[in-house]
């Protein structure tokens, strides 16, 4: 269909100008710098730099610290996504069943969405830090050795819980919307045939909301990759002994703290590739859902 349009020749360029200018200066320029920088090696004083091709990439990928960070990121992202989604789905199915107080529950459950990740991290750290956290105190009283500042697994547990807590609201809203779109007639038909409510959930409801689940999986993974920088920085600073150093945290740490510009840029480029892959997956899925609906 031919859309009705205005005939102006110059105006559209003026309208586009602000966004294009900002995109060029703050996006394309730095992104191309990152690409360029990733192939340079600077001397320790930052005076000279020479072109080294893909050497930085080889160094990054061959570095055991980097591989450790990949492992940490995978563990962290998968645990955060699974925990946040499972809790949210559980709450959403409960919210579907109640009649009274639906609005109240929703209002109370969407709070954490508005809490900054770094602040969410601080709240949990406050409750669980070994020196004066009340829960740390209770755990120790119960005879459990709790010290996330020294124990890597406990530190990971703490950041996963904080990150998942913040993401419950978001997932909850999407699951509620998805559950509402499941046709009542299907569920009623299954109930008449004698299917129990557990069986109805796993054989009818769950497959029908699979597109939303998959979408949330991608969104939660991206969230765990990038938006949780604040949580990690506030709670553990990547420690203890790099046990919670995710890929994004390492880019920051190598670039701004260790001043390894080439290595940090190479890591940025690898991250970009990962995000583009994730986005591509998401778009293929969006395509599918359009046919589905």
């Amino acid at each position: 269909m031919q859309k009705a349009v205005f005939p102006n020749k110059l105006l559209p360029y003026l309208l586009l100008a602000p966004q294009v200018a900002i995109t060029l200066v703050f996006f394309y320029w730095p992104a191309s710098q990152a690409l360029y920088q990733s192939m340079l090696k600077e001397d320790p004083f930052g005076l000279k730099s020479k072109f080294v091709g893909l050497q930085n990439f080889a160094q990054v990928l061959g570095n055991p610290d980097y591989l450790n960070s990949v492992r940490v990121t995978v563990v962290f992202s998968v645990s955060t996504a699974v925990l946040a989604m499972a809790l949210a789905l559980f709450l959403a199915t409960a919210a579907e069943k109640v009649v009274r107080g639906k609005g109240f529950y929703r209002t109370m459950l969407i709070w954490p969405y508005a809490v900054a990740p770094a602040v969410a991290g601080l709240l949990w750290l406050f409750m669980f830090n070994p020196s004066m956290g009340t829960f740390a105190y209770l755990l120790r009283d119960a005879g459990y050795r709790w010290n996330p500042l020294l124990d890597g697994d406990q530190a990971m547990l703490l950041v996963v819980v904080a990150a998942a807590w913040k993401q419950i609201s978001y997932n909850f809203l999407f699951f509620v919307a998805a559950l509402q779109s499941v046709p009542r007639s299907l569920i009623e038909a299954a109930a008449i045939d004698g299917a129990s409510s557990t069986k109805r959930f796993w054989t009818i409801v769950f497959p029908l909301i699979a597109p939303t689940t998959f979408f949330l999986l991608v969104v939660n993974t991206v969230y765990a990759f990038f938006d949780t920088f604040g949580i990690i920085d506030a709670v553990t600073g990547g420690g203890p002994a790099q046990a919670t150093q995710t890929l994004v945290y390492k880019v920051y740490n190598d670039g701004f703290v260790n001043l390894d510009l080439g290595g940090s840029a190479a890591q940025s480029v690898i991250l970009m590739a990962i995000v583009i892959a994730l986005t591509a997956i998401q778009f293929r899925y969006v395509e599918k859902r359009v046919h589905y609906a």
Binding site: I22, F90, A94, A118, F126, G230
Partner: protein
């Protein structure tokens, strides 16, 4: 009608109440801590009900200034954060409406090139290109400025795509009618398109405001001056485990003040927020 027998409904309420408890408890507990004196906080376990220091703590944080972050008062931090969040939300909405308008309602050479130029930025959050973007900011002299806090974060395509999608649903007859009545493109934008986009703008505003308010990595990098800190960054700077003199009561007060404005926005604009979130993400 599905069977009514059994414990289905009471169980559901129970699950929701437990969930609500998990979600709300950390915030409630922070509030409790913010009303206690430092000595009470340092001696766990903390009581479960608010203490009597509420006036003193909040007064000190809001107007007195906090030593650990250079004596800056929380009001300054709140102002900085508000400027940043509003700047990002309004700036993004403004430039996206204009560019979406251009792409949908005009035909001109390189139209699709521009569209893709913007579209590609959808994929890359600022986190993956921090170092070079930081360099650009230094070159442009934008460290410790509001422009430096805001501009790099409004370079993103989400809002443009959203408005483009919405504009494409506007019937061609409406455009024809406006043209026949002698309305130019800007008149059409102002008198017809903007009023029609009101709910979309409100929904997007909530989401972008939260996005701006909760930013962490970027303000951490571009602000050196304590006077320019956002509230989240200042909070981070107040906490230290290396030495024992973290003013926890001030940290808790500041946390509550950092959480309150965005929570109010989300709760009060809930209707638009929920719609905007679920629809904009497709």
């Amino acid at each position: 009608m599905i069977e009514r027998r059994g414990l289905g409904r009471p169980m559901a309420h129970l699950v929701l109440i437990v969930g609500l408890f998990i979600v709300a408890f950390p915030i409630y507990y922070t509030f409790v801590a913010s009303t206690q004196s430092l000595t009470t906080i340092l001696r766990p376990p903390l009581p479960l009900t608010p203490g009597d220091q509420i006036g003193a703590n909040y007064g000190e944080a809001l107007f007195g200034g906090i030593g650990r972050i250079g004596g800056v008062a929380v009001t300054t931090l709140l102002f900085n954060t508000l400027v940043m969040a509003l700047g990002i939300a309004l700036g993004k909405i403004f430039i996206s409406i204009l560019s979406a308008f251009a792409v949908v309602f005009f035909r001109f050479p390189l139209r699709m090139v521009f569209f893709w130029l913007i579209f590609v930025t959808l994929m890359l959050p600022v986190e993956v290109r921090i170092l070079p973007t930081y360099k650009v900011m230094v070159d442009l002299g934008m460290i410790d400025t509001y422009a430096g806090l805001i501009l790099p974060l409004i370079a993103s395509a989400t809002a443009t795509l959203l408005f483009r999608q919405f504009f494409m649903t506007i019937p061609a007859e409406l455009v024809e009618a406006a043209r026949i009545d002698g309305a130019g493109p800007l008149r059409f934008l102002k008198d017809i398109l903007l009023p029609l986009s009101k709910t979309n703008i409100a929904a997007l505003f909530v989401i972008l405001f939260i996005y701006g308010w909760t930013q962490y990595l970027w303000p951490l990098l571009v602000t050196n001056d304590n006077q320019m800190n956002t509230i989240v960054i200042a909070l981070r700077k107040m906490v230290s485990f290396a030495d024992a003199d973290t003013p926890w009561h001030m940290v808790m007060v500041t946390s509550i003040l950092a959480i309150l404005p965005p929570v109010l926005v989300v709760v009060l604009m809930q209707r638009w927020f929920v719609r905007g979130l679920v629809e904009s993400e497709k």
